[in-house]
Amino acid sequence: MLNLFCPICQRDCDETELSCGGQAHLIRRDHASSDKDFYEYLYERKNDKGIIFERWRHVYGCGKWFHTARCTLTNQVFGSYSAKEVQPPKSILATIRRSRVDFKGWVK
């Protein structure tokens, strides 16, 4: 059972308090977008073996959404950050680089 840090509560919380919201940093496509962009926004999701950026909601806690960076292979967590961020903060990317020398950075 995962244990993640809620940046709003400033507390570690068990997975049972959380609800996973899938891939983070999706860009919403509105009616003005092309059909292809809209299709990708609706249905295309990454399924990486390795580092992923994902959304969680502290549903049985503060109720707030936040983002984490996690390795799907080892479940190592590189930190939590605000759901308002449109891309992973530099500090998180630096943490990842420290333990994954081959990390290529965040890809949209």
Binding site: M1, L2, N3, D14, G21, R28, R29, D30, H31, S33, D35, F38, Y41, L42, R55, R57, V59, G63, K64, W65, C71, T74, N75, Q76, V77, A83, K84, S99
Partner: protein
């Protein structure tokens, strides 16, 4: 024959006898006995039938690795099947029953399987019962089900008390043997919280039992001092009788605590532990050597023979033979010989050994034969003699030796299961013949740090001297790695440094065993897997260890192959001609040992399994004969039958009371979400398909929410309470979902908007007053004016009924003149009672959810979840009027422009009238055209108002089919024909809603 010695037994209290029953027989044991030791003390050596061939089996071990002695223990609501007799403490009047036989243990009809065992080889079921298909259902499956399986499922509800306990600790030490105790001592006084879990009822592992006579006092003193230190240290908590059953991500650990005091209630708790660092001191499990007829009662692991002797004063037999490949097993014969027990011979598979223990055994007069092993065992239900043969060759018997007990030891396997549960890798140690934890590939914690350390026998370190030497050093290293500033821990070694006790990795004997012998050589006792089965699996191409495991079921029984795993892997390696480390091993998975299902449920059973949400009017509903309907987590009144009414009569009465007089509905479950803030209107414009920001204060508007794919998600009435506040009503089942949906969009997409959202579903209750006489009824309360001018349709007012605050909405889900009264929940019951009392004059009837559904279906109003299923758009429902063309953006807008959502062959909502007016279509039945399903029924009722059957449905291109007749197939033999019409069956002009 097994028996109790007149003295000895460190675990038992001979002053206190305990009565128990085994298969109906009254027997006696002592306080402190396990069921297994008590059975052996009563000469019950044959205690079980095997799983597949129903062969006689005896107690094989003294711990959780026990493959044979599974019992049904307890009675009635406390009965538990498949319990290892070796682990359960004996209790007064305990009822113990053996399993897997019919009609009795001694005369088992199903042991006929044993005679035909050559037909029951690996894959037998796959190969045999292929056809005919019908035979599976009526012959094969019932037959196999009767013959197989272990114990019987309990027949009564489990009344045992289970608890879940949460715990956080810096360090968790698993295992209280020498390594665990030393680790705890070395970690104390460093500012850490330390928890030590020991599966046994005492700590100490094996070192006291293993000590020589001259060492005994010294070790005892050391032991008592250690226990004193652990007790005194405030930072160490020791949990006895607690088995760690699983290790999961980020240091999450499950442990099963089972306090079994004789004659007192058993306390069973599931510990949910979060540990920063885990120290594995789980020791090792003795494994057998595989030889012909090795599964007969009377054969036992060598250290277990000694355990029963030293801990319980129980002797397996008075003429015991040992077969071994290691020096350590000689301790058993030495202990027995000292007590004057006859040891006719020790068969050592090795060519020689120079360990002093051999000399000691010889000095006691034990006959030792090197290079020899057991070639056969005589005896039907109990071993009565062994045949000696050479380890090399096919197993020709050289000498027959009568005996009544056989101790077997093939060396020790580090207990690495828990290391593997959460990603730790294993290394094959070819010299010793076992897998051990790979210190380079450890399980990891949340930060990617190594969070587990294996110490002692589970890491392949067996000598007490080495353990006491290494553990403090490793703990000091750990402390400096964790940056814990504290003194280094140093301990003087009390153990004598001895010549290493060696094991030669020999697994199956004799080496050249004939085919016939291989069929009598059992690897996995619990699933009856023999050497020949594994060879057959390889022959048939199941070469991967995971395939061979599943094909033969090796290691898949409840003991998870604790005694059979390594032997099985060895046989595979031999059959494939590949070294063991190239074969790999199967994955160890939680639980380490079986745990009761009730333990997983914990206190969340019965009433707490899924608590029922009740409305404030629930008590009245209960007292007034309501039939219940679950709606999400709520229970709602489905209908209120009176006297001897049939259900149809009840529904008819309730519906007609709304159409003709007035009805009352408890609609408190309706979702109510307050959206408040300067940007509330802007936010709701993005959420709903229609415009909400233009709604005037005091007015209501029906709204529809879609998801981004354009499909209907929820619906309900929105009321504008004031300039910055909207109260959004949702479906009863959808309140939590909609609330989460709004929060998600607000927090993750439109977080610049100044809006707060509160779920007020339980703060307000709601009562619908519907029917032509509803206005009259409410006007009885003098304080309110509900005239059409004062309160037009889709408006609301806030007022008081007597002294109860109410918000009255003039909205209608039935097509009649209708009001919905929102009230603070604590006054809902009071208001309801007032309305019932006042309503008597108007013959008011309470109506339930079914009448509500009939009333709305008569009007063709949709219900999200009935008419929609996540693939239905507003256009499909004929509700394009609710999709704004003016708004720049809202959820779903893009999707509505996509061609496939505008295609003419989409299913559209229609009304359906059966030609035979009395025939009600089954819910969900399909409309068929040219042999193709073209749609289905979504709601279907007998309408008491129209006195005929009505239905709503989604039919391909349905709107253009109005007037035509379609076939609805209700079975392969029967169809109902019906006409497609407009979905509004009653008062299509809407004249009734103004009363």
């Amino acid at each position: 024959m097994s028996s109790r010695l007149p003295q000895e037994g460190s675990r038992i209290n001979r002053e206190k006898t305990v009565d128990f029953r085994f298969n109906g027989k009254n027997l006696k044991g002592f306080y402190g006995d396990t069921v297994a030791s008590a059975l052996l003390a009563n000469n019950e050596m044959f205690v079980a039938r095997s799983f597949k061939y129903h062969r006689p089996r005896g107690i094989f071990s003294a711990g959780e690795e026990e493959p044979n002695a599974l019992m049904g223990i307890g009675e009635g609501p406390f009965f538990e099947p498949n319990i290892r007799a070796t682990e359960v403490k004996l209790k007064q009047n305990m009822n113990v029953a053996s399993q897997n036989h019919w009609p009795s243990l001694k005369f088992d009809f199903l042991s006929i399987n044993n005679l035909f065992s050559r037909f029951f080889a690996a894959g037998f079921y796959y190969k045999t019962f292929m056809w005919p298909r019908a035979a599976w259902k009526y012959l094969f499956e019932p037959m196999i089900r009767r013959a197989s399986g272990l114990g019987n499922a309990p027949r009564e509800y489990d009344e045992e008390h289970y608890e879940h306990i949460y715990h956080h600790t810096d360090v968790l030490i698993i295992g209280g043997g020498l390594a665990g105790i030393t680790a705890a001592k070395a970690l104390r006084d460093r500012g850490l919280s330390i928890m030590l879990c020991e599966k046994d009822c005492v700590i100490g592992g094996r070192y006291l039992e293993d000590s020589k006579i001259e060492e005994k006092d010294r070790y005892k003193k050391f032991h008592e001092k250690s226990i004193g230190i652990l007790k005194k240290s405030k930072d160490i908590s020791v949990k006895l009788n607690t088995t760690v059953t699983g290790i999961f991500d980020h240091g999450f650990v499950l442990a099963y605590e089972e306090n079994q005091h004789s004659n007192t209630a058993t306390k069973k708790a599931l510990w949910k532990i979060r540990a920063k660092t885990i120290i594995l001191c789980t020791g090792a499990i003795e494994r057998p050597i595989v030889f012909p007829d090795n599964d007969l009662p009377g054969i036992m692991l060598a250290a277990s023979v000694r355990d029963y002797l030293q801990k319980y004063g129980v002797l397996l037999g008075d003429r015991l033979v040992l077969t071994t490949n290691n020096d350590y097993a000689y301790k058993t014969v030495i202990e027995l010989k000292r007590r004057g027990i006859d040891i006719p011979v020790v068969l050592d598979a090795r060519a020689s050994s120079d360990n002093p223990i051999i000399k000691e055994a010889k000095g006691l007069g034990v006959r030792i034969l090197f290079g020899k092993c057991i070639g056969k065992v005589e005896g039907k239900r109990k071993a009565s003699a062994i045949g000696i043969c050479s380890v090399n060759g096919e197993g020709t018997i050289e000498e027959l030796i009568p005996c009544n007990a056989i101790a077997v030891s093939g060396g020790w396997t580090p207990n690495v299961n828990l290391w593997s549960h959460c990603g730790g890798k294993l290394l094959w140690d070819g010299e010793c013949g076992f897998y051990k934890p790979d210190p380079e590939n450890t399980p990891m914690g949340r930060e990617g740090e190594t969070n587990m350390l294996a110490l002692g026998a589970c890491a392949g370190v067996f000598s007490n001297y080495d353990i006491q030497d290494q553990v403090p050093r490793k703990i000091n290293q750990l402390a400096s790695r964790l940056k814990i500033k504290s003194k280094r821990y140093i301990e003087t070694n009390v153990f004598s440094k001895e010549p290493e006790k060696k094991t030669k990795p020999i697994f199956v004997l004799p080496h050249g065993a004939s085919k016939d012998k291989q069929k009598r050589m059992y690897i996995d006792f619990q699933n009856d897997v023999k050497v020949s089965d594994l060879q057959l699996a390889v022959q048939e191409g199941f070469e991967n260890v995971e395939h061979a495991k599943r094909y033969t079921t090796l290691g898949m029984a409840t003991d998870q192959g604790k005694t059979s795993n390594i032997n099985g892997i060895h046989v595979l390696s031999q059959s494939l001609g590949k070294p063991v480390d190239k074969i790999g091993h199967t994955t160890f998975r939680p639980p380490y040992k079986p745990i009761p299902l009730g333990l997983i449920a914990g206190q969340y059973a019965k009433k707490l399994f899924k608590p029922v949400r009740k409305t404030p009017i629930d008590k009245w509903n209960l007292l007034n004969n309501a039939i219940w309907e679950p709606v999400a987590d709520w229970r709602r009144a489905y209908a209120y039958p009176k006297g001897n009414e049939g259900l149809e009569e009840t529904l008819s009465r309730e519906v007609l009371s709304v159409r003709k007089n007035v009805g009352l509905l408890d609609s408190s479950t309706l979702g109510k979400i307050l959206v408040k803030g300067p940007d509330a209107g802007r936010f709701l414009d993005l959420i709903y398909t229609n415009m909400m920001s233009t709604l005037k204060v005091g007015k209501c508007r029906y709204g529809l929410m879609c998801n981004e794919a354009g499909f209907v998600f929820d619906d309900g009435v929105v009321a504008r309470l004031n300039d910055q506040s909207f109260l959004c009503h949702t479906t009863s089942g959808g309140a939590d979902r909609v609330y989460a949906w709004l929060e998600e969009w607000l927090q993750t997409e439109w977080h610049h908007l100044k809006v707060f959202i509160v779920n007020l579903t339980e703060q307000y209750s709601q009562i619908a007053v519907a029917g032509p006489k509803s206005r009259e009824l409410l006007q009885t309360f003098k304080s309110i004016d509900l005239s059409a001018e004062k309160l037009p349709f889709m408006n609301f007012i806030e007022t008081n009924i007597d002294d109860i605050w109410v918000r009255i909405y003039r909205i209608s889900f039935s097509g009649e003149l209708s009001y919905e009264l929102a009230v603070n929940s604590n006054q809902a019951e009071e208001l309801w009672n007032k309305l019932i009392k006042v309503g008597k004059k108007y013959k008011v009837q309470p109506y339930g959810t079914e009448a509500l559904h009939i009333l709305r279906a008569e009007k063709g109003f949709i219900v999200v979840g009935d008419e929609t299923d996540g693939t239905v758009t507003p256009h499909d429902l004929g509700m394009e009027w609710i999709v704004s063309k003016k708004k720049k953006d809202f959820i779903g807008k893009k999707a509505f422009s996509l061609p496939h959502l505008n295609s003419s062959i989409r299913k559209q909502l229609v009304g359906i009238l059966t030609l035979d007016t009395n025939k009600v279509l089954p819910d969900g039945c399909h409309a068929v055209e040219d042999g193709k399903a073209i749609g289905h029924v979504t709601s279907t009722y007998f309408s008491p108002t129209l006195k005929r059957s009505i239905a709503l449905g989604l039919i391909e291109n349905g709107r253009s089919r109005k007037g035509s007749t379609l076939e609805f197939e209700i079975s392969s033999k029967e169809s109902i024909f019906a006409k497609i019409v407009d979905p509004n069956f009653y008062d299509p002009e809407g004249a009734k809603q103004d009363g």
